[in-house]
């Protein structure tokens, strides 16, 4: 049997002194495309930080590609949540190049090898044209493509993408998800991709990892996204409704737990 890309056993993770995920265990086979779902504050970002070695596990063992977790692991590509733009005057190329071996001491200078690897990463996400423009002039979706290129720089085997679809319009969401899926398949990468809404990822995911109430549930989409499974996970009545080829997770009281495109404005229950 091949070594799992990710193996967590009885892991507890805290953030700012508060327990976010408690005693979770799951294992992701290599090459799997996993959608990480859960409401705001369910621990998606904390889980990623734990896998990156930025939040030490309070208990349990985390293994990445069979080795115990460590900071600065080059086999993990990470795309943090989009945040306030810094250095928008710089070109997209400069922005991506800053991440190429950016952890090494010395001058911010890319050698021929570095430029080649930046070029390859930009090509992979079809962003060579964008790279010539100042980042501040790019749209949210275009900036996401640059961030994705950054995550690909070290040819990782595991991609952790934190809300890569946030702030995109519905058409772009699906396009971006497909782009990531195709990339991952062609390179044999394992992908963990967190999202607010499951629908742009439907049909692409091999597994879904559902986080709620400090617990985690990993499985096939058809096994996890059921009224029974989620009701057990939440410990409260939750309905999984399928309509028009889409999936909605609705709590008693009418609030949507996962908000389709964040535009329905439902209450978020965690």
């Amino acid at each position: 049997m091949s070594i799992p890309a990710l193996d967590l056993s009885h892991v507890t993770l805290t953030r700012g002194g508060q327990t976010v995920l408690k005693d979770i265990s799951f294992s992701v086979p290599p090459g799997s495309f996993v959608g990480v779902l859960g409401a705001n504050g369910a621990g998606k970002t904390t889980l990623f930080r734990g896998l990156l070695g930025l939040e030490p596990a309070q208990g349990g063992v985390i293994c990445v590609n069979g080795a115990s977790v460590r900071r600065g692991n080059r086999s993990i590509g990470y795309m943090p949540q989009m945040r306030k733009l810094i250095g928008g005057q710089l070109s997209g190329w400069s922005m991506v190049a800053a991440a190429r071996r950016g952890e090494c001491w010395g001058l911010p200078w890319c050698g021929a090898k570095g430029r080649k690897s930046v070029q390859a990463a930009l090509e992979a996400v079809d962003a060579l044209d964008l790279a010539r423009k100042p980042v501040a002039t790019l749209s949210g979706g275009q900036r996401q493509r640059l961030l994705l290129a950054q995550a690909l720089l070290d040819d990782p085997t595991l991609l952790l993408l934190d809300e890569p679809l946030a702030s995109l319009d519905p058409a772009r969401m699906r396009e971006t998800a497909l782009r990531i899926h195709t990339l991952a398949r062609s390179r044999g990468m394992t992908v963990l991709m967190s999202a607010h809404d499951i629908n742009p990822l439907l049909g692409l995911m091999d597994h879904v990892l559902y986080l709620a109430r400090g617990k985690a549930l990993l499985g096939k989409v058809e096994d996890v996204l059921t009224t029974e499974a989620l009701t057990a996970l939440y410990g409260a009545p939750v309905d999984v409704v399928r309509a028009g080829g889409r999936v909605f997770v609705v709590a008693e009281g009418g609030g949507a737990i996962l908000q389709p495109h964040e535009c329905l404005g439902g209450h978020t229950h965690a």
Partner: protein, 282 residues
Amino acid sequence: MLEYDFMRTAFLAAFLVAVVCGPVGWFLVLRGQTFASHALSHVGFAGATGALLIGLSPLTGLTAGALGAGVLMGLAGDRVAGRDVMIGLVLSVAMGAGALFLHFLTHSASAATALLFGDILGISSSMLGWLAILSGGCLLALGGMARPLLFASLQPELAEAKGVRTALLDVLFLALVAIATAECAQITGVLLVFTLMVAPAAAILRLGLPPFVGLLAAAGLAVVEAWGGLMLSWQTDYPTSFWIAVLGGVGFLLAGLVASWLNGHAQQAASDQAGALDMNDL
């Protein structure tokens, strides 16, 4: 004007200081920490007047004061809530202490003017030596950490994940800013540190040059503005700091014009290209 010893010293001092202020300022503007440099210079003022009081050179006091404050500021990081208020308070307490120290100094008026508005023509050869040592040290340190500093400034979370020690870099960088500020205050004075530290760097950043080129260009522009200020001061007999401030402002405006012209040009080129493609489609 170069036949005079003090002018040669002034040009050399301006070069040594500007060549550090440009690139350090480039990072300051990029990271949005320009206010920190302003605050550090004020703490340095208290240090300088205190040093005068106990018979040390003002540069020693300036460097020590700014360095101490810079390291503390870096250690405090973003954790302190209401950071801007805290910096403002430290700044005003420091200025107040400076006023007290000046009160005890007998030759306070000339010392105060020199510290607040700079005294580039009064730089001694021994101070020139110190400036050379500090500048050399700063450039070496910046050269060593520019790459991870750039990464950590642009993408803090990603840099952290890749193993960059961002907290350490924050402290190191502010220490560097403190030394550069202390040096800069010799020329432009405590109140006008912005003119050499921020103005040239901000102008260069507007142009959107790649980081390495931008750092070199910021150093170059800072030297040009500092030397230009010296020459204009020689011609007009107005204070050097005034001319450096004016040149800084003009440089910033010109860079804005160049940037918008370049952008317009790029858009024109893009639409021309798009037009040509349309023609091909037909």
